[in-house]
């Protein structure tokens, strides 16, 4: 299968503000996301996940190595890729339909076709009747749906999702995960998902990559072997999820860290 998104020996260094000191954010990161695949990236805070995403979106150039999308080297923003963040980033002065149309409008697509597509996308996300509303009139979950619709509207071959549901409540998150999984499957889209939610990573993905602390490197790769990726709610009930989550916790050292705090608390109580 062809790889949609590929990173080859990426390294990223930042010059610390003011000083001459250099800060390594990424070190020798290589992996590929295949056509139609959903890959999750998990790692401790500050491990360079967002830097990786910026490189993929063409917003930053790596210090070493190269990134490719659809076989072309990424030299800047390009039509193959669109991203969605934790913040919905809807423009408050645009109606929901106009927000969904933003990317198509910037790319100067035919206005009538843009309108039609925005309407159709909103309908598929259950937002019919809200086209003319403004973002502040919608709930957090609806706003994230609109943001996802805007991301899909430009028809990218790869979606970059940076903690897309971490700002919504737990139940809405489950519903949005379900919608995302279905939509990506139906549209046959490829996605790179960054998340802190281990269960989310497992139930939404084909593969989970684990990154180390700074400088970020890929330290583990887990293929998720649970059926029906388009149905994360069913996947969530699968017994194997606990096993995958346990492995992720081990790799991230979460168990040990928590153990340490528990012990400290006990000592304090005594």
């Amino acid at each position: 299968m062809m790889s949609r998104l590929e990173f080859r020996n990426l390294a990223m260094e930042f010059v610390k503000a003011g000083g001459r000191e250099r800060l390594a954010a990424l070190e020798d990161v290589s992996f590929a996301v295949l056509d139609g695949e959903i890959v999750s990236l998990i790692g401790p805070s500050g491990c360079g996940k967002s830097t990786l995403l910026n490189i993929a979106a063409g917003l930053a150039l790596p210090t070493h190595g190269e990134a490719f999308v659809d076989g072309e080297p990424i030299r800047g923003p390009n039509p193959h890729i669109a991203f969605m963040l934790q913040k919905d980033l809807l423009l408050p002065w645009r109606s929901i339909a106009e927000n969904v149309a933003l990317g198509m409008e910037i790319r100067k697509n035919d206005p009538r076709e843009t309108k039609r597509k925005a309407r159709a996308l909103l309908e598929s996300f259950g937002l019919s009747g809200f086209e003319a509303q403004y973002p502040h009139q919608l709930s957090g979950g609806m706003r994230q749906r609109a943001a996802l619709a805007r991301t899909l509207a430009v028809d990218p071959s790869v979606l970059l999702l940076d903690e897309p549901f971490s700002a919504v409540d737990a139940q809405t998150r489950i519903i949005l995960q379900q919608e995302l999984a279905r939509t990506l499957k139906n549209a046959r889209k490829t996605a790179l998902l960054i998340t802190h939610d281990l269960i989310e990573a497992v139930i939404l993905s084909d593969r989970v990559l684990v990154m180390s602390g700074r400088p970020g490197r890929i330290i583990d790769e887990i293929a998720i072997e649970i059926g029906d990726r388009a149905n994360p709610i069913a996947r969530r009930r699968d017994a194997k999820v606990a096993h995958y989550v346990a492995r992720l916790m081990d790799r991230l050292g979460i168990g040990e860290a928590a153990e340490g705090t528990t012990r400290d608390t006990t000592r304090g109580d005594a």
């Binding site: 063409g58 933003l102 430009v154």
Partner: protein, 264 residues
Amino acid sequence: MRKTSRRSPYAEGAIASLVLLILFLCAWQWGPGALAIPSFIVPPLSIVLEESLRMWQQNHLLFHTGVTTAEVLAGFLLGSLLGAIFGYLLGVSRAAEIALSPYILALQIAPKVAFAPLFILWMGFTIYPRILVAILIVFFPVMVNVLTAIRGVDADLINLVRAFKATRAQIFWKVEFPASLPSLFAGLRIGATLAVVGVTVGELVGGNSGVGFLLSFGEGQANTPMVFVAIILLTLIGGLVYFLVAAIERRVLHYMPAPVFGGL
């Protein structure tokens, strides 16, 4: 026991506001007499009203009010236009900001009203020096508000449109400009109240037209009621411009959740 009010806070506030106005007018009418303050210090309301009628008949009150209103509007419009243009220019270009900010800051620190005599030396006793002072005063709050707003636009929002391959012009017109509008209007509100200050100073320094001229004329005649009339008129002119701005703001920023400052 707890009483729940059925009236909305708006209705309640409006009634309280009206009561305060009536109390104030009553205090003005009968307070000076009760406290034995002579009317050449604080003339009661009725005398001020009589004086305004006299000025209407003998001092071309309408003409002077018209002159001042036109000056305030011209100064406000030109000053805010220039302020906005410079604000956007400096907001979009770091280089322009670094190059121009020391001079703009210097001009900001200089007391603008002190320029009034200079402008009169240059342009004589016309309406132009007054408009110029107003322009100078209005310029800064508008410019600073716009500049701060452009600098404060969420970087992720810019990245979002950049990822859509937006050109520099598209980033400005689709994100930065609309994002700056609430701040621009906040600056315009301040500018509206300052324009009348600039014009008044210009009129006080010299000339024979405008409400500021009537003000200094009344002072020369030791006509306290006339001074009061002039002050009230200047306040009304400033208020008019302010409400114009607020009305336009409500239209332009219709997407904003709730009106600020009690709907003013």
